[in-house]
């Protein structure tokens, strides 16, 4: 059995629309429309979708914040609503836009407070904080008030706060939001390390395709409350990645007239093409390109994952 099991999970919101002073019309908004999936222990799963797709609503149902309208959800064998207290000891959450840390106090104090909330003994807490200081590299930050930290430093401490109680599953909602490239890279390797060291299952939502590409082996895409794709990353790339981008620079100006290729941009001696591999052979095209003139520089690349995902959003979004 998986760590997270979801079957036909639904959530409707009722919104009231005023039609007059007393008269109201009620609208049913289906935020999540019967989704099912399973997550295995130790997996890093990307759970993505455009804004308003139902990601947060799903996470909130899995963490016990929201009551589902219908359907079945179990996290570590527990019903998130009925067994809320038990579950809180076993899951951790990092919401990039919400903070657990006390703004005016150093993180050390927040850790002590959280320790008391989770009923940890002082010794146990100290050991855990030492361990997290080492893997998250936050030893020097422990005594600095949070308000004086950079965003990157704060997020690291934020993560330490969320995994202080050794959760088995971590829900990360936009953990890298607002971070610079270096901080993002660091954070990703930390997430990987947490996953490997304690075999922690990680449920990640992010709009940053880099996060997903670097961390996850599997991806679930949700749109308009429905799962439109649940696949492993390799297969996804294989299935959707049938287009190559070729850029060439010639030594001299050339007269470019090839059929069946899409020209993305062109100057006198350089050209950028998109080639659909389903009906063309790459060596055939390359051969033709080389014949046109002396090639000074060439690069062949796959389409960025970002484009692939955007395409899936737009094609399948209309279901």
């Amino acid at each position: 059995m998986g760590v997270i099991t979801v079957k036909d999970l639904r959530k409707d919101f009722i919104a009231a629309k005023r039609k007059g002073f007393l008269k109201r019309e009620y609208l049913k908004i289906e935020a999540v429309r019967g989704i099912s999936f399973e997550v295995e222990e130790g997996e890093i799963l990307a759970f993505i979708g455009p804004n308003g797709a139902g990601k947060s609503t799903t996470i909130k149902m899995l963490t016990g914040i929201l009551n589902p309208t219908s359907g079945y959800a179990r996290v570590l064998g527990l019903d998130p609503q009925r067994d809320r207290k038990k579950l809180t000891y076993k899951i951790g959450t990092v919401f990039g836009q919400k903070s657990q840390l006390w703004f005016h106090l150093p993180p050390k104090d927040t850790f002590e407070l959280l320790g008391s909330i989770y009923g940890m003994e002082d010794k146990e807490l100290k050991k855990r904080v030492d361990y997290l200081c080492e893997i998250l590299e936050i030893k020097d930050l422990l005594d600095i008030p949070v308000r004086k930290m950079s965003l990157g430093q704060r997020i690291k401490c934020e993560i330490a706060a969320s995994i202080l109680h050794k959760p088995k599953v971590i829900f990360l909602d936009e953990p890298t939001i607002g971070l610079d490239v270096v901080a993002k890279k660091n954070l990703r390797s930390l997430i990987k390390r947490i996953n490997q060291e304690e075999n922690t299952t990680i449920f990640l939502t992010s709009h940053d395709i880099g996060d997903i590409e670097k961390l996850c082996k599997r991806m679930i895409i949700i749109n308009l409350g429905q799962i439109i794709m649940d696949d492993n990353m390799k297969r996804l790339k294989y299935n959707y990645d049938n287009k190559k981008i070729i850029s060439l620079r010639y030594a001299e100006d050339i007269d470019f007239n090839l059929e069946d290729v899409k020209i993305l941009s062109k100057t006198n001696n350089a050209v950028k093409l998109e080639v659909d591999m389903e009906d063309r052979d790459i060596d055939d095209i390359l051969l033709k390109l080389f014949k046109l003139g002396k090639v000074e520089d060439i690069s062949i690349s796959s389409r960025p994952l970002e484009d692939i995902i955007a395409e899936i959003y737009s094609i399948r979004g209309e279901v």
Partner: protein, 265 residues
Amino acid sequence: MLMEVRRHFKMLFSYVKFNLKCSSEYKISFLTQIFGMILNNGSFLIFWWIIFRNVNIIGGYSFDDVLILWGLASSSFGLTYILFGNVRELSDFIISGRLDSYILQPADIVLNTCASKMEVSSWGDLIYGYILLILAGRFDLKGAFLFTLFTVTGSIIYFSLILLLNSLAFYLGNVESTKRILDMFFLAFATYPEGIFDNFFRFMFYSVLPVGFSIYLPIRIFNNFSLLSIILVILAALVWLFISFKVFYSGLKRYESANIMEAKI
């Protein structure tokens, strides 16, 4: 069960400790708030003092009784907001979805949310209550014990009332003005002698608006000690606490959360 209680006491203790640490980052503001509140409360007393120069008894209360009445109201109010400063903001937490972070923690949601903030000026209210007890000449072993006991029960009752009013936000949405009016109602009645009100009001005080159990009955016990009445006060406090928690937790099922940027300040 016992472990749970111990854990929650430890949590409350940590909250008080860190809230104090937070506020004392700005020392002058901290002290001004406390002493400002004591002075502010003291101004009401001058009014009563002038009246009692002409009459000896009002509504069955002597001046000393009025001192205790004000003292109890003030320290119950103070203790509530020292420990649970967020209780009066709770409806706002419910509407704006800020309960999320507390639902994700294993502690009791009500206690955890409410204790996460301390109203610094409330220390002034608590201290003021004890100053009045001294002025009334009742600061002996028995007086101090009873006063402390009734401060705790009064605080439980007042806390429950505010919790109940704020929990209505689960059902009604915006309860901002309703809760402020009823809160002021309670505090207004808690600062006048019981005897000046007629039977209808007295019935209210021992039912809907719990001033009777938090203030009036304790004052009677001060003058005529009765163990039975003490038990009655404690029972009333527990019943109020039970009802308000019940209302909160049944409302919680309707909680809808929201996506709002947030920082704990």
